[in-house]
Amino acid sequence: MEVVRQTFHIMLIGAAATLQITVISVAIGCMLGLVVGLSRLSKMRFLRLAATAYVDFFRGTPLLVQIFLVYYGLPQVLRDLQTYLMDSFNMPQILTQYALPVFLAAVISCSLNSAAYIAEIFRAGVQSIEKGQMEAARSLGMTAGQSMRYVILPQAVKRVIPPLGNEFIAMLKDTSLLSVIGFEELSRKGQLIAGQTYVAFPVWLTVAFLYLVMTFTFSRLVDYLERRLKTGD
């Protein structure tokens, strides 16, 4: 198709943006998710409750709503907060402009969402390690933190690779929702091209194909990793 041939490079740019936002979000999601996931297992009640509330909220509400909350809601919260601080404590004005750049809003919303799912993955991974491992580590005099770091987590990481791969693939597809705030990832590019050229089917088929190439490649990569790590488990 002529339209597809002429616009293919634009769709590729969109696919690159999709991949970029997914990698960044899942990477941040992993760090935040580890903290939240371990907090879910903490002895401290407050931490446990806060982490549970976090997971419940971000898994229990649509990503689309979370994107709106961050992109449209967060600037208003920042503005009101600044007004309050300036009025009540005579704080100098720091922010002059409140609107979030689309990219930043995309990173924030997708990372927060991903962290909730990844937290559950890490929690399950840690809990799947036999209780005797923690006991053996503690009986040698290691602190809870040392035992987690040197004994439990290295074993848990192997087990969480397949579910983490699934989360990456799910997030890669879900980033298409970012098109609603105008983030120019693959779906948004498809919308723009189809809208301007009135050629829908070939364009959207190509978009679908590009998603498939990314998810397929990635799932094979995870399979490979999983097989390599299996030895020595």
Binding site: Q133, S139, G141, T143
Partner: protein, 240 residues
């Protein structure tokens, strides 16, 4: 070395230990026997606080374990523990299993920690297995590495929780041999086991537990040749 006074432990409504009083002298080898569910493992696990006692006092070398000011991690470095299921770290080689705690808890250098580990592997007869992962070792070899791992912290006391119960019969001997060597060297040991031969040969004192209490204790001779308690007699008649 170990002093236990009025130790109680409940899991919810289930009372597992109902007032244990016990002393273990330095260099003494105490063997704990009893039917399953009698609380022997729980008793042992209380001694390094893998289980938190419900009430009662435990002292190791005069230091109270139940005192909140006591650094429990420091105490645990003095009390080595060997588990029924070995609990070796599967992602680490035999050498790394042994050197991990000296490295991270004692903050020794890598070379020094590995020297200790090599020395202990030699002691348990596994010098050639240093670079091998646990899943490549037999049960008996794994348990010997686990003993070496506990010894790496140079503990004053060693606790053994049914160390041969998960082993194939032909591997029991090699683990018991390592334990006998330890006893001969003067290690203070508390051993929960069903190996009556070991109790008789190595034990200085044998304790019989039933329903969360110490029912009878004495030297192996008294214990096996002239048991007083009827439940002990019944127990011995079943297993000997």
């Amino acid at each position: 070395m170990i002093k236990v006074e009025g130790l109680h432990k409940s899991f919810g409504k289930l009372k597992v230990l109902n007032g244990i009083d016990c002393r273990v002298a330095p260099r003494e080898v105490v063997v704990v026997i009893g039917p399953s569910g009698s609380g022997k493992s729980t008793f042992l696990r209380c001694i390094n606080l893998l289980e938190q006692p419900t009430s009662g006092q435990i002292y190791i070398d005069g230091v109270s374990l139940t005192d909140h000011k006591t650094n429990i991690n420091a105490i645990r470095t003095e009390v080595g523990m060997v588990f029924q299921r070995f609990n070796l770290f599967p992602h680490k080689t035999a050498l790394e299993n042994i050197s991990l705690a000296p490295l991270k808890v004692r903050n020794l250098g890598r070379q020094e920690a590995e020297e200790i580990a090599y020395g202990l592997l030699k002691k348990v007869g596994l010098s050639d297995k240093a670079k091998v992962y646990p899943d490549q070792l037999s049960g008996g070899q794994q348990q010997r590495v686990a003993i070496a791992r506990a010894l790496a912290m140079r503990p004053k006391v060693m606790l053994f929780d049914e160390p041969t119960s998960a082993l194939d019969p032909e591997m029991v001997g090699e683990v018991l041999a390592v334990m006998k060597d330890l006893a001969r060297e003067g290690m203070t040991m508390v051993v929960v086991t069903h190996e009556m031969g070991f109790a008789r040969e190595v034990g200085d004192r044998v304790i019989f537990m039933d329903e969360g209490l110490i029912v009878e204790e004495g030297t192996p001779e008294q214990f096996f040749l002239d048991p007083k308690n009827s439940r002990l007699k019944a127990f011995l008649s079943k297993i000997l």
